[in-house]
């Protein structure tokens, strides 16, 4: 882990416990997970107990304490997507990848998560892979899209 990088992130914010969530968001988006070494550094520099950090990272959905796969799949399960069949899309992704929401497969190829509305309801059901939006998904089309990722 690049300690300098983490220190730079922490130093961007006021050295105060109220910066905790913003610092963790930045580390998560930089490394795509929160390694223990990084959390130790945050705890020391912001003067926040590790128990409090654990509370925060388990409370908020954005954080992960395990490494994410090469491709992050987000199936939108917002209401609009739900009524248009998001469950079937989610089932198809689960079938193809063998993992459930919140999990990463053993080859670190896919991580799967659900998201409650990405705000492009006109395209529902929507699946987002590595930030790229795939609209009007069905179970057959889901397989097609996922096949393209190595």
């Amino acid at each position: 882990m690049d300690t300098g990088k983490i220190e730079n992130i922490i130093d961007k914010y006021p050295s105060d416990p109220s910066s905790l969530i913003q610092v963790l968001i930045d580390i998560q988006s930089e490394l795509r997970w929160l390694p223990k070494e990084a959390l130790n550094l945050v705890s020391k520099k912001l003067d926040v107990a590790m128990s409090r950090i654990q509370h925060i990272i388990t409370f908020y959905k954005a954080f992960s304490i395990v490494p994410k796969g090469r491709h992050e799949v987000h199936v939108c399960t917002g209401t609009a997507c739900h009524v248009r069949g998001a469950t079937r899309v989610l089932n198809a992704v689960e079938g193809h990848t063998g993992i459930s929401p919140g999990e990463t497969d053993q080859d670190l190829k896919f991580s799967l998560d659900t998201v409650s509305c990405v705000g492009c309801c006109a395209l529902g059901p929507v699946m987002v892979v590595d930030g790229e939006y795939h609209g009007n998904m069905g179970s057959a089309k889901t397989e097609q899209v996922l096949k393209n990722y190595e």
Binding site: D16, A92, C117, A122
Partner: protein
């Protein structure tokens, strides 16, 4: 950019911007909001730029403006060419050549890209004539297609920050609060508390340190109006906030925006930087002696943080757990100081009040609900998108006149308003006036403005279960009525949808719902039972068919349905057997296909892929699956056409 020190300098700067712009010069506005971007708007912009170069034109002849969302997401990517206001829909990169050569150079309309009215097949060229837009009242969202959200100059050119001048220079803080009171504007975040009265509480506090906050933690699934405002016109939100800070006497503000909206975070952060450079945020704004600064804070994915006390805890770097009120944030808010929190759409309304007078809002709407409201009209509706309408319009007008009704010839079943705290409204109430009180009377709420249309293929048990599932994941767990109440309601709903429902379950749900509603600490738990109560109220027979007949009339609840291939209709085309992920379809060429019910996982792939001209895959519920036809009768000859 110059630093502006007085109203006169601001007007000077504005005049300078406008004088450099030729109102007759063609400008191609392309929506690059999240919806259109997902549909490829980025590539359209690149293709248009490329084509302009290729055809030997340059920025002296035509401008390209990447704008926020005008609302008609269903037909994106959207392109509007000004000054003629020619509206092109579903534009693809390949259309760029024709748009430039025909419309920009040749001044002709590319007819195949314009809207065709499905009722009379008439082509509609101008944006404001399209029925989807024509029947709206677009006070807040109307500017989105006119400005580049990354350019404060664009906002100044349409009269931006005039309202701020009026507030800071011509009005005392007390007068500003009074104007907001007079406008009768109610908060747009959900509860509908009168904004002016709320401001008055914090303004009246003698404390020196106070805060103002924009609640942009738009968590309701299926609602995205705040995202569109922040992405498309962040300057108006900031203008409202600065005015509010002045009225209340706060020198610090926060903008709490959810992290799932990366573009909104980007645009609003850039907007703050530009407003700061201009000196409209900072010290001694416009020479008035008023100082103000804003910090952007990203939410980390917790629905409950939309609740104001939870939001405050999150801003302080703590888990977003609500606190009991009183004390209200106006008395003891962020870091224990008086705080005023309003939603994005509420703040966007403030500049309109200052600029046009409080009557601008109070003259629109019903007795107790004034102004316009943006709804995100989604689900099973033809024109999905954002619609801004006057309060008091009927649901029918929104869904059918503006929204174009239910697509695919399906029957309307219900509309769900207010997100997970709201309720489902059936057809019989479609003529009610949309305002805070009327929606509450039919068991729903206005909420933040999500409006999800459901058709005959939507199972109401599944909808209620969906919201409970969502809320059980999002309940912070602090108080037991919410934590336990939702969990138990969900387990009952689960067994009903699995065909294990018992007599008395409906009554048990009602009882649990009432205790959860009455005893929860915050609005999340207090409103969580609404989807259950409203579906029981209007769709009780659907609960009964699940419980008594083990039948799901909408063919949604997986455990109560089966798929069956009609041997009369099957053409043995092999499409379904090849696509079946469970390998549950027995069949070969010229062999009628049969589903092995033991292996079938009810995923619905076969139903989805069977060509509509065959329509051989059928769904069954509440009745036994017919036995498979004997193997020797399966052979067909020459039928697969």
């Amino acid at each position: 950019m110059p630093r502006i020190n007085s109203p006169a300098e601001l007007e000077e700067f504005r005049k300078d911007i406008i004088s450099k712009r030729d109102p007759d010069k063609p400008c191609i506005a392309v929506c690059t909001g999240t919806g259109c971007l997902a549909l490829g708007a980025g590539k359209v912009v690149a293709a248009l730029k490329e084509e302009i170069k290729k055809q030997g034109l340059d920025t002296k002849v035509v401008d390209i403006r990447e704008t926020g969302c005008p609302g008609f997401c269903e037909r994106g990517p959207i392109v509007v060419i000004n000054p003629e206001e020619i509206c092109y829909l579903q534009v693809q990169p390949d259309d760029a050549q024709e748009i430039i050569s025909q419309t920009i150079v040749g001044k002709k309309v590319v007819e195949r890209l314009v809207y065709i009215d499905p009722s009379n097949n008439e082509k509609i060229v101008h944006e404001s004539d399209i029925p989807f837009y024509k029947n709206q009242m677009r006070h807040l969202i109307g500017n989105n297609i006119k400005i580049d959200p990354k350019s404060i100059e664009d906002y100044l050119a349409v009269g931006g920050y005039l309202a701020l001048v009026k507030a800071l220079i011509e009005q005392t803080p007390e007068q500003v609060v009074q104007l907001v009171k007079d406008s009768k504007l109610r908060g747009r975040g959900g509860a509908g508390f009168p904004a002016g009265i709320k401001w008055g509480f914090a303004a009246g506090s003698k404390e020196k340190k106070k805060y103002v906050i924009v609640n942009a933690d738009e968590g309701d699934p299926g609602a995205f109006m705040d995202r569109a405002l922040l992405e498309g016109n962040p300057f108006a939100v900031l203008e409202g906030l600065i005015i509010g800070a002045y009225a209340i006497g706060a020198n610090e503000g926060y903008l709490y925006v959810r992290q799932e909206y990366p573009l909104a975070v980007e645009n609003v952060t850039l907007a703050i930087k530009q407003v700061e450079e201009l000196g409209l945020i900072g010290e001694n704004i416009l020479g008035s002696g008023f100082d103000f600064k804003i910090t952007v804070h990203q939410g980390a994915g917790a629905f409950v943080c939309g609740e104001e006390t939870a939001l405050l805890a999150s801003l302080e770097g703590k888990p977003g757990e609500p606190k009991a009120r009183p004390p209200f944030p106006a008395v003891k808010g962020l870091f224990g100081k008086p705080t005023n929190i309003n939603n994005v759409e509420t703040w966007s309304n403030i500049p309109l009040i200052l600029k046009n007078g409080p009557e601008y809002i109070s003259s629109i709407g019903t007795e107790n609900s004034k102004g316009t409201k943006i709804f995100s009209l989604v689900g099973k509706v033809t024109n999905t998108g954002l619609v801004e309408v006057p309060m008091g319009i009927s649901l029918r007008d929104i869904i059918f006149t503006i929204g174009g009704g239910v697509p695919g010839g399906k029957k309307f079943k219900a509309v769900q308003t207010g997100g997970p705290s709201g309720g489902c409204i059936p057809e019989e109430h479609l003529d009610i006036k949309v305002d805070f009180d009327e929606l509450a009377k039919v068991g729903a709420i206005m909420g933040s403005g999500g409006m999800i249309v459901m058709d005959e293929d939507t199972c109401m048990i599944d909808v209620a279960k969906y919201f409970l599932e969502f809320l059980s994941g999002e309940s912070c767990g602090k108080c037991s009525p919410c934590r336990e109440g939702i969990t138990h309601m969900l387990s009952i709903m689960n067994r009903i949808s699995e065909g294990k429902g018992r007599e008395g379950d409906i009554e048990l749900l009602e009882e649990l719902a009432m205790s959860t509603k009455n005893a929860s600490l915050c609005a999340l738990g207090g409103s969580a039972p609404n989807p259950v109560l409203s579906t029981i109220r209007y769709f009780r027979e659907e609960y009964e068919s699940h419980i008594r007949e083990k039948r799901c009339p909408a063919f949604v609840c997986k455990d109560l349905i089966a798929y069956y291939i009609d041997p009369e209709k099957c053409k043995a085309c092999m499409i379904c057997s090849r696509k079946c992920p469970a390998e549950a379809i027995i069949g070969a060429k010229e062999q009628i296909h049969v589903i092995d019910q033991e292996k079938c996982t009810n995923c619905g792939t076969c139903y989805e892929v069977c060509p509509p001209r065959f329509g051989a895959v059928t769904r069954l519920s509440g009745e036994p699956v017919p036995p498979p036809i004997p193997e020797k009768e399966r052979t067909i000859v020459g039928k697969s056409d």
